[in-house]
């Protein structure tokens, strides 16, 4: 991805969440990754690995500390792509 486009990242994240058995219709920007989508701490770490590979970036686990919703996650990915 040459330019970090929010909408493109969001769509890719949705696809990745789909691999974790999440129904794509339920995934909106404001969905809480843990409470609404039901990912536990292990699955979140696996999701991060998928994100790293999909966008060819490093995404340190430390960056998860401020993330609650899908939107937070997408914005952080955007930031990491632009680093």
């Amino acid at each position: 991805m040459s330019r970090a486009d929010y909408a493109e990242i969001f769509e890719e994240v949705k696809t990745l969440l789909g691999r974790f058995g999440k129904s794509l219709e339920n995934i909106d920007e404001e969905a809480d990754i843990i409470n609404d989508l039901g990912l536990d701490s292990l699955l979140v770490m696996e999701l991060v690995q998928e994100v790293e590979d999909a966008f060819d970036i490093s995404f340190p686990l430390n960056d998860l500390s401020g993330i609650r919703t899908v939107k937070d996650f997408v914005l952080q990915i955007q930031k990491n792509i632009e680093v």
Partner: protein, 395 residues
């Protein structure tokens, strides 16, 4: 509720176990009879989940060393080495560990967990990167969190996945510490150390191996995977524990970097923890001598490990990837695993019940650990119990 709200999930789990009427996470050992036998709920049970790999907990020489040290030096040190001073035994144990591994420096910690916390969080800090195998132990994760360094996971035992992540780091690889384990505590598989060392030569990172479950188990002299893979010169730091093959409690780090000695002056979990007791130090020193002096214990251990692994494989169980003294047995669902654990205990066999997230990949498993102290008949008894269980459980 306030502060306790966060415990709701745990409370629900506890309630469920209360209703079932048994609790795999609070088993009371009423009497410990030997390295392989105990009395639980009024009956003798064969222990197959203790990590007592060399069976040294009841070795008369280790017991006598601990008793003599207690009589001579008292029951505890009552403080840290910085404040209360270093006992001669602490220094002797560090010297003996360094000699055993052929390393320049050694530091002894009060537990293996604390060794990982202390070493990792002190060696690395903000601006550094930690690249760890996804299946690393909780103490490694916690040490990483305490460090403030960037933490990146690579897929378990996947050197190609590690390289992909190293490539993304670019020049930052030089300030990266990679952490793997000699034998992984849940699945019992070894790290692909030779492949990782080859990557080290290409990318120039720092490498730490946790030999908690492989000390006394792997290598001609029992040093662990680093010795078995002939990588002693390429590994920067080896950490380990005294609580498994050495039959006591405590942890250590050895290194050929002379600067390791500086870590003890900066590591809070070393500075502010009471040092190991004289009994612990004395029994560990004795056990280390026994570990180093011969390979008969290791040979017996491996004979038992292969016997159990092959026996369970023949029964059709899905097992961890390779035969080692840690044998993971998959029994489908969480509920089936839970009831299988209870069924084994009812048959007089104690194994570890491992549920997610402690078990990798969201799976549940029964974890067996084999000891050199197990007899051939005892291993047969374990296999027989699993066989009886498999008649009722869908594999």
């Amino acid at each position: 509720m306030g502060l306790f709200e966060k415990f709701t999930t745990i409370a629900n789990g506890r309630n469920m176990l209360d209703q079932l009427g048994f609790d795999p996470f609070n088993v009371e050992i009423e009497e410990i009879l030997s390295p392989t036998m105990a009395r639980i709920a009024g009956r003798e049970v064969l222990l197959a989940g203790t990590n007592n790999y060399l069976g040294l907990t009841f070795d008369p020489r280790c017991i006598e060393a601990a008793c003599s040290a207690t009589r001579a030096e008292g029951t505890g040190t009552t403080g840290s080495r910085m404040a209360n001073g270093t006992f001669a035994g602490h220094r002797a144990l560090e010297r003996e560990l360094a000699e055993f591994f052929g390393c320049a420096k050694a530091i002894v910690f009060s537990t293996g967990f604390v060794a990982n916390l202390g070493v990792i969080s002190t060696l690395t800090g903000p601006g550094d990167t930690l690249l760890i195998d996804g299946d690393c132990h909780a103490s490694i994760y916690d040490g990483c969190r305490m460090s403030g360094a960037d933490i990146i996971r690579f897929r378990h035992n996947n050197a190609a996945d590690l390289e992909k992540r190293l490539r993304r780091l670019g020049d930052r690889a030089k300030n990266t510490l990679i952490i793997v384990e000699g034998i992984y505590s849940m699945l019992g598989d070894r790290a692909p150390l030779a492949e990782i060392v080859a990557l080290k030569k290409k990318y120039g990172f720092w490498l730490m191996v946790d030999e908690a479950h492989s000390l006394g188990v792997l290598g001609r002299k029992g040093m662990g995977l680093v010795e078995e893979a002939d990588c002693l010169e390429d590994v920067d730091f080896i950490v380990g524990t005294f609580s498994k093959s050495l039959g006591a409690i405590g942890g250590f780090c050895v290194s050929n970097h002379p600067e390791l000695d500086l870590v003890r002056y900066a590591s809070r979990s070393y500075l502010f923890t009471a040092s190991p007791s004289p009994a612990t130090v004395a029994s560990v020193r004795q056990a280390l001598q026994l570990l180093a002096s011969g390979k008969d214990l290791r040979e017996r251990l491996w004979c038992n490990a292969r016997h159990l692994y092959d026996g369970l494989a023949k029964l059709g169980f899905s097992l961890g990837p390779e035969p080692t003294p840690v044998i993971a047995v998959y029994v489908r669902s969480k509920e089936e695993t839970l009831f299988s654990w209870k069924e084994l205990l009812d048959q007089g066999i104690y194994v570890n019940l491992i549920l997610p997230p402690a078990a990798p990949d969201g799976k549940s498993l029964l974890r067996c650990s084999v000891s050199a102290a197990h007899t051939h008949e005892q291993i047969n008894h374990i296999i027989k119990a699993f066989s009886a269980m498999s008649a009722d459980i869908t594999l």
